[in-house]
Amino acid sequence: MSTRQGVVVGDIVHAGGLPLAGLGAPGERRLWSDRLRPRVEPYLFLVPYLSVFVLFTLIPLVFGIYVSLHKWSETTGDGGFVGLSNYKTLIEGQGYYGSQFWQSMWNTIFFVIISVPFLWIIPTALAYAVYRSPAKKLWRMLFFYPSIFSVTAFGSAWALLLATNGGSVNSLFHLNIQWLVGMPQAWISLDMATIWATMGFSFIIMYAAVTQVPRSTLEAAEMDGAGAFARFRLVMLPLLRRASVVVVVINTIASFNLFGQDQIMTNGGPGSATTTITMTIYQQAFDSYNAGGATAAAFLLAIVLGVIAFFQLRVSRRGA
């Protein structure tokens, strides 16, 4: 930020603050090149981004707030201003939609609790194991490659792997487990599939952080007689704090948005036991045509996500 100080407003950031080309040019050109150009040009670079930002982030956001304060349907449009009643219905859990909102919110929070710890522990443990072993590139590829599968691709693969009749896991191990239609197995199945498919990114981040820990620090600990696990817990782990917070925040947000694999593997079932908040929002919007209520629910979810991310980042700063 210090590079910005002492520079003429509108000019390029550099030490001398020299005006750009145009010295000695005819009067009219000088007005453009000396005075207007430095003021206008920085904005020109921003025009493409600001245009798409306004069109595809800002307008939808403001429009969404407007919609959430109205009775609104995708088919018939604006049905009149209703104030905060869409939010009230949800927060107080009124009616079918209100109770569905809370049930799916708790379902989602449950999934976050059973997925995020594993999505941190497994990549971290594997990152340390790969760091201590030969053939690092091979392992890295092995743990990252499922990231190339889309949610529907790995969702349908796991749905068939875990099918009760004829599913590969059941036939291979001679089991008869209702992986997808029984509780609590449905959650376990979704958890396993999600961890398998999405831990690659977290692994890469944790691995990068592990390799940045100075070798001398670890060797010093080894000299002092610390075993591999003690070195990991006492030396490595505190230095992985920053990367860990990034991984936890990213995975918390991703798990709160559980949708595609759930839709394909369990379709929210058995019953509505694995119906997530995003599925409820989707159903309200596109099956019940309640755009106002669905938008309100999406904003409430966004607020919950913001608050959680804020606290996770705060906890990380306090320790640093």
């Binding site: 995708e74 349908s156 068939l160 291979l172 890469i204 981040i205 990068a208």
Partner: protein, 300 residues
């Protein structure tokens, strides 16, 4: 090893033996580590092997036979997905839609974000801080909050079921601006000063200095965008309804819960086909991708 054998008869034989013992002890100590990795590796590979054997296998493939290995290899399932009633499930069209949309979005994001990041990081002008904070805070808006309003907005604009709908919402990528902003801040000011002294315009400075210096991270941003758009499910699901405008990710869901509900082997062939463009991108740019994710993760 050869050296060790020669020196066995030499006076340092005892030393060599002890170093060998130490090596063996080291290996034993590392064994649990390798066992953990091997088990994890098998678990990671299992679904892939199974998908491949089901897609390429004869008959029901690996699915009901209770074994991972198919009876024989055939491409029949791939023929099925590309042939069956092209009007109903145009798989090739879905693939081309996905690749085209993701490529265009990736190029647009790289270009738009590079221009914006250059202006915010290296040019000084009134309001630059405010704009930067708006960009950064828009990172906090989760996509789910924008999904429905975007749908209604595109409905209002009459752009649902168009390529515009499939590309445009991804172009407002604040993450990319932030990533390139961080990178541009680290480029020495001397380079810029020298160019200014030579009479270069701002556009020339961006194009001739900042773009070449940041080409690695910019390509990585493009790749991450490509991956994200190609694999996105929620937005193309709501933004399109006509069969010809679907992307492959949505197409798989349609097939999975639709007409092939019993034709598992064809569904797995479709899954394999859907991964191929991503696999190509992955093979060509694995190192860059890995470095990019690591950089982005560590930048926080």
């Amino acid at each position: 090893m050869a050296n060790a054998q020669i020196s066995l008869s030499s006076p340092s034989a005892a030393l060599v033996a002890s170093s060998r013992r130490r090596m063996r002890r080291r290996l034993i100590r590392k064994l649990p580590n390798l066992v953990v990795l091997a088990i994890a590796g098998v678990i990671m590979l299992f679904p892939l092997l199974w998908v491949l054997s089901t897609a390429l296998g004869k008959g029901t493939g690996g699915l009901a036979s209770g074994s991972l290995l198919p009876d024989g290899v055939t491409l029949a399932n791939f023929r099925t997905i590309f042939n069956v009633s092209a009007s109903q499930d145009p798989v090739l069209r879905w693939l081309l839609n996905s690749v085209g949309v993701s490529l265009v979005a990736a190029v647009l994001v790289a270009l738009i974000d590079s221009l914006a990041a250059f202006s915010l990081a290296r040019l000084s002008f009134r309001g630059s801080k405010v704009i930067f904070y708006i960009v950064v805070s828009s990172l906090m808006v989760p996509f789910i909050a924008l999904l429905l309003p975007l749908f209604l907005w595109f409905q209002y604009l009459g752009l649902l079921n168009t390529y515009g709908a499939l590309v445009l919402p991804y172009t407002a990528n604040a993450f990319g601006v932030f990533l390139l902003y961080q990178f541009f801040l680290a480029i020495p000011t001397e380079l810029q000063d020298a160019a200014v002294a030579d009479g270069a315009t701002r556009f020339q400075i961006w194009w001739k200095i900042f773009v070449p210096l940041s080409i690695g991270i910019t390509v990585t941003l493009g790749l991450l965008t490509f991956m994200g758009v190609y694999n996105d499910f929620f937005w193309p699901l709501v933004a399109t309804s006509s069969p010809t405008m679907r992307t492959i990710t949505v197409g798989i869901e349609i097939v999975a819960i639709g007409q092939y509900q019993t034709n598992y082997t064809a569904l797995m062939a479709l899954t394999v086909v859907s991964v191929i463009p991503m696999l190509v991108a992955f093979i060509f740019a694995q190192r860059r991708l890995v470095e990019g994710i690591a950089f982005a993760g560590i930048q926080g």
